[in-house]
Subunit: 181 residues, 4 copies
DNA sequence: ACCCACGGGACTACCCGTTTGT
DNA sequence: ACAAACGGGTAGTCCCGTGGGT
């Protein structure tokens, strides 16, 4: 159910996704939803955000912990992965938590989204530190890289093209490597 | 009415904004809406997006055409302006068209949002060309800068802080200047 | 619509009456309900109570203003009328506002019911004063008579018989006349 | 559990009381309800009504069997007791079975309420016979007294005042004593 | 005797769009 | 260009009752 919810929220946003859609997609009955998520839609969204955050975290960690690749190559790999999902879904699957931030939902949901961003930031920061950046600079760069990737995902959906994402990956990769020197 | 609609869509997203809200906010009667916007909600959103796009375009153009400032300073100025609006609104007013892209709305609305992004891109590109970048590089950099700023706006809303935006401005400014050399 | 609502609330109580039932009975469309009663179910119930109160008030006034009859006969007439409606409806139509008092509904609804009781009380009191009782005694007796009639309606529904109502009418009539002496 | 159910039905009516409320209040698990009351909500309500009826019966019997007091004083005592409960509960605890009569519930529930009324009637009748009334007159008077008290409880809830109850007690007491002569 | 999970049908509230009459 | 009312579909929430697994 969480899976179905996460995908629908990602595709249609929070308000745009009806619980009926979630139930129809997941096949679960109506009563089960409020048994497992007594907090209703908000709780469902918050847990979906947390799950999506964790999932992507692991994927990113896998891409960044292969010591054979440089930090720059890690960024490119992540971007390629996100771009692949985007294109495969017909430019529907962007960032799974961004809609929660833009739609002024319940604070609990927004906080879940914020935490997902925080976790992604930390993964990136760690990798940058391992690449030789000091802690402060790594945090700054991680925030910037995350901003650029998120914004690129947005532009990709708008343009129906993965070009902004590739462009972002290329620039970030360059910055990450160059600054290291 | 368009003003009210633009602000509400910006704050609550497309699905999250009811036409009743728009009518109540703008004070306009229900009948007028379908007189001026026979296409209904979609047309209203599309025109609101176009208007928001044009408005921001002018603001950006004003910030970038002052030859006294460098390209880097122009970026910082724009970011400061967006950050100011964000903070002044209690972190509610982010990008006015981003919600339309994330919520898989009617294609006409998404296209209006895409065009707004395109216009902003062109303003930035022009400024970069005037700063000495060749056309191809200016386009690439404009896309990247737009991505970073949009993503930073998203992170700012998530973190309830303008720090990501300032960070993005600083990095972009540096890149823009450095590359010029 | 108010008519249908009043009857259904009278038969099934506040919580036991769904707005769907009201709509189906009255034939009105769903949207009209919230146009005419933006306050929703509570407002509908409050207005239904007010209307029922006024209706019964007029009926009672008609029964009590015929100078030919004594005060005692007026009471009997009213009871006969209520008993007739009760029996004609298969013991479903009791007091139209009593359910609102017993079901701890929204204060606005309870207040509407209280006002209906107040209006009925005043009609009875007036008639008693005309029959020679002083103001204080007339108020007391009116309250008592109203209590007895309301309680009798309750018992009639429970026993599926109009006997308690007739009994109450007989006793009240006797008291009203006897005290006058 | 019956206790909790009885109180909630008394306060909010039949339809207005959810089984979840009963379970939450009593602390009992959901599974137990349908083990002990396979008939569901209707059975629960019927047994709650029977229990409430019996409880009040005993209280009334205690108040009326003290030979030191006259029949009139017994009525006043009962009214004082009901008024005390009413006031102590913030005018929420009226008659425990009246809601079942007004809300056209399952016949089994209404019958249980009717039986409670019958039992109360018999207690009053007995007392009146002991006070010297013949059987027929005692029955009539008992019905009337019960009507007046029930109606007074209703008006008390509506007015948020115990005055109607005191008024009713005073009148009934007078009738009961006077008729005896 | 209890407990979790299901199952789907109700509830009220609100939606967007249209029609009809100024 | 406004205004009032209709029309009915759908939103999220909560309902009561039923099983399978101890």
């Amino acid at each position: 159910m969480l899976e179905a919810a996460a995908r629908l929220f990602q595709e249609r946003g929070y308000s745009g996704t009806g619980l009926n859609d979630v139930l129809a997609t997941s096949g679960a009955p109506r009563g089960s939803l409020y048994f497992h998520f007594p907090g209703g839609k908000a709780q469902l969204a918050a847990e979906a955000a947390a799950r999506s955050g964790k999932d992507l975290c692991e994927v990113m960690r896998a891409a960044t912990t292969q010591e054979a690749t440089t930090a720059g190559e890690a960024v490119v790999a992540i971007a390629a992965l996100l771009g692949g999902q985007l294109r495969a879904s017909g430019f529907r699957h962007g960032c799974p938590v961004a809609p929660f931030v833009l739609e002024d939902v319940d604070p609990s949901v927004r906080d879940a989204a914020r935490d997902a961003f925080g976790a992604w930031h930390d993964v990136i920061q760690e990798r940058l530190e391992r690449a030789g950046h000091d802690a402060k600079r790594a945090t700054e760069l991680a925030t910037f890289a995350l901003s650029a990737i998120e914004g690129a995902l947005l532009l990709c959906k708008a343009r129906q093209s993965t070009e902004p994402l590739e462009q972002a990956a290329s620039e970030i990769s360059r910055i990450v490597m160059e600054v290291k020197r």
